[in-house]
Amino acid sequence: MKLIFKKTTHTHLLTLLLILLSLTVTIGGWFFTKHFLNYKEAQLLLRSGKLQVAESGFSLRRQTDTSSDTSKEADLMQDSGAFEGALISEDLTAQILRSWRSGASLISHDPKKGEMNMEQAITAGIGWIHNMAKQGFLPRSFSKNSFRDVSAILYTLEEKPDIPDYLLSRWIISYTIKEVQITLYIHAATGQVWQAEILAENDKLPEQLSSEEEALLKAAFPFLAGGGCEFSQNLQDESYRILVSSPEDKIVANVQWTMFENDHQDYTIAVLTLNSRL
């Protein structure tokens, strides 16, 4: 009898313990989970560290590992002296242009080894404008302008094709001078202008800009010298356009014109583009 009583008490005690454990896990577990998540949140918000320019943009580093940062960053710095652009083949140029036109998303980044820095890019862009102005495709007054209103961003592709990373970057630099806006796409490794967009009121641009397309393209993209020139007919409006090709015929340049009116003022947009024929 005593044994049975002991056994029953023991069973009841075990049942009670199991019920308590169950309640602890179900209710206490919820509060613990909530506390854990809040703790994780607090820990995340206490986070701080360095940002590092990786191949595909920025990556994070913890607060502790700062010793090697400066040396690495120093490697990425470019001196502000003259930039000697890399020489790349026409074939490679065509491949880079094709990847640029693939529609891949862009990310901005600091210049890396082998790429021109912002000052060099702005200087190269100004040189291009001076040259175009001297040849009469831009107002002559631009040939001596120092350009104060400039914005510049270095972009690369987020998804990399099978091309060395430093060859994919481009500087997009916008110069605004006397209500003429010129945006240049400068290949960061060669320093060459591979695309130019000119937006201005019609009366601010010289006549020569639109009348001599072949000369315009050859002046804009001097590295195409030695290549051919051809006419292409647009079957819809029966208009012609001029295509200037590279010596190996792997790259082709053309200009597109857009005209619009705003506030009773006529505007022209000229887009000088290089495209791959691969």
Partner: protein, 487 residues
């Protein structure tokens, strides 16, 4: 503790822990990812803003920052082109501009971490909202600034809080539904076990006929089937034991009774001779009674000995010609029958049977003797081959029978017969239909018991047929030898 309770609480604990664990991991992962993405997005904004500043440093006069710090010029034209909330500081730490809601916010630690061409990030709360700040110094020639770009991440924190609340609601709902489901599931799973437990309890209480319902082909169904088989075996064994115990009890009681009757007579007559002066005739009469009862006791002891021997010996059956056997046995009893005035006839078809000669003779004589004691005037013995069926494997539960020829011996008399209600018991030891007549004829009630035992040794049994008034027929069915069946 009941199995159902154990299952219920164990599954509830496991379910709860798994749900909370998985939820916490998912929410934590989501939050981590959201913060990482926000840092990346802010870094892009910072980079853009940095380029804007850098372009201005390159293209403007070197002293424009100094002029802005002195309040001579504004930096609003720069800030308007930037992304996110920004603050600009000179390299000596003076604020040029701050777009943050708290103009007095302390960014000194962030500025201290920033080195040339290196940016750092941290989270900082301003006026109840959390900001992710990225700071770096931008230098060009001999001048430069600190740029802080910030993004309000309060929405991520609020989203995290909303997710936790939502998860809490889902957890409560899932737990409520889960508890009900687990309860019914536990009850469903343990129900067969409960039924089995109740059945075992009833069997333990002596109700051996209790069985459980057999449903399904799973382990529980198999357990129920096995349990029922076990219960059947137990019931059979218990019945056998009960019957055996009853038989032993009856045997002991009958044996005592059978001993008591002759001994009472022996003691009584011996006492009479000893104590009284008797005439020679009276002495002879008393001595005859003592001799008579002594004979009964001797017969009783011999039969008991035979029964004991039969129970403990293994007999080897031989192929014997049934016709020859019956002829010899008939020759033995014909004279005695004639002396008693009983007409004895027999016919026997030739066939070989498996039998022990001496035992079969005992069986035969007992049956003839029993017929004679029943007051028969005619006894007919017939031995013949007949068609029948034979169980192929006697040990098998499911009988498989095949048609065979059997050898049947029938002993028919025209005696007083056996009442039908007594037929079941006449082969029990010491059982006598008419005790007084039987004792008068030195019967001990063991003859038919002995005969039944011998029949069993021969793989057969005694089958009595009687209407209780006009004689009895005893049938023994034997298996012929292989050589006969081949014939």
């Amino acid at each position: 503790m009941k199995l159902g309770i154990k299952m219920f609480f164990s599954i509830t604990i496991f379910f709860s822990a798994a749900f909370l664990g998985c939820g916490a991991i998912l929410i934590s992962y989501f939050y981590d990812t959201a913060i990482e993405k926000e840092i990346e997005s802010t870094a892009q904004r910072y980079q853009y803003n940095k380029f804007v500043i850098q372009a201005s440093l390159i293209t403007r006069e070197d002293d424009w920052i100094k002029a802005a710090a002195d309040g001579h010029t504004s930096v609003e034209f720069l800030v308007s082109d930037m992304n996110g909330t920004v603050a600009l500081y000179t390299l000596d730490g003076s604020m040029l501009f701050s777009g943050f809601p708290d103009k007095t916010a302390d960014f000194s630690s962030l500025l201290a971490q920033s080195q040339p061409e290196s940016s750092s990030y941290q989270f900082q709360e301003m006026q109840g909202r959390m900001y992710l700040l990225i700071c770096g110094s931008i230098k060009q020639n001999n001048t430069g600034v600190y740029l802080i770009t910030g993004v309000d991440v309060q929405k991520i924190l609020q989203q995290q809080e909303r997710i936790i609340q939502k998860f809490g609601t889902i957890y409560a709902a899932a737990l409520s539904a889960g508890v009900v489901l687990i309860f019914f599931l536990s009850a469903l799973l343990t129900r067969p076990v409960k039924l089995l437990t109740a059945a075992t309890q009833k069997i333990a209480d002596g109700n051996y006929a209790e069985r459980v319902a057999e449903s399904g082909s799973d382990e529980v169904g198999q357990l129920a089937r096995n349990f029922n088989q076990m219960a059947c075996a137990i019931e059979e064994k218990i019945n056998e034991l009960s019957q055996s115990a009853q038989e032993k009890e009856d045997f002991a009681a009958n044996f005592a009774h059978e001993l008591k009757t002759p001994l009472t007579s022996v003691i009584g007559y011996a006492d009479r001779i000893y104590k009284k002066e008797l005439s020679r005739d009276a002495q002879k009469q008393a001595a005859w009674h003592i001799w008579n009862e002594g004979m009964r006791l001797e017969a009783l002891s011999l039969k008991l000995m035979d029964l004991t021997v039969l129970n403990h010996r293994n007999f080897v059956l031989e192929d014997i010609d049934a016709a020859l056997l019956l002829a010899e046995l008939a020759a033995d009893v014909e004279y005695l029958m004639h002396e008693k005035g009983i007409a004895f006839l027999y016919t026997a078809q030739q066939a070989y049977i498996k039998a022990d000669y001496d035992l079969f003779k005992t069986l035969f004589l007992n049956l003839i003797d029993n017929a004679a004691k029943a007051g028969a005037s005619h006894i007919q013995v017939n031995g013949f081959l007949s068609d029948g069926t034979l169980r192929q494997h006697p040990g098998e539960t499911h009988s498989r029978t095949q048609p065979v020829q059997l050898y049947t011996i029938q002993i028919t008399d025209d005696g007083c017969g056996i009442p039908p209600e007594e037929i079941q018991r006449i082969t029990e030891a010491f059982y006598m239909v008419d005790k007084s007549r039987s004792r008068k004829l030195h019967g001990a009630g063991l003859g038919l018991s002995l005969a039944q035992k011998i029949a069993e040794i021969h793989g057969s049994r005694l089958d009595f047929t009687s209407d209780g008034s006009s004689g009895t027929t005893v049938t023994i069915v034997l298996t012929p030898s292989v050589q006969d069946t081949d014939l």
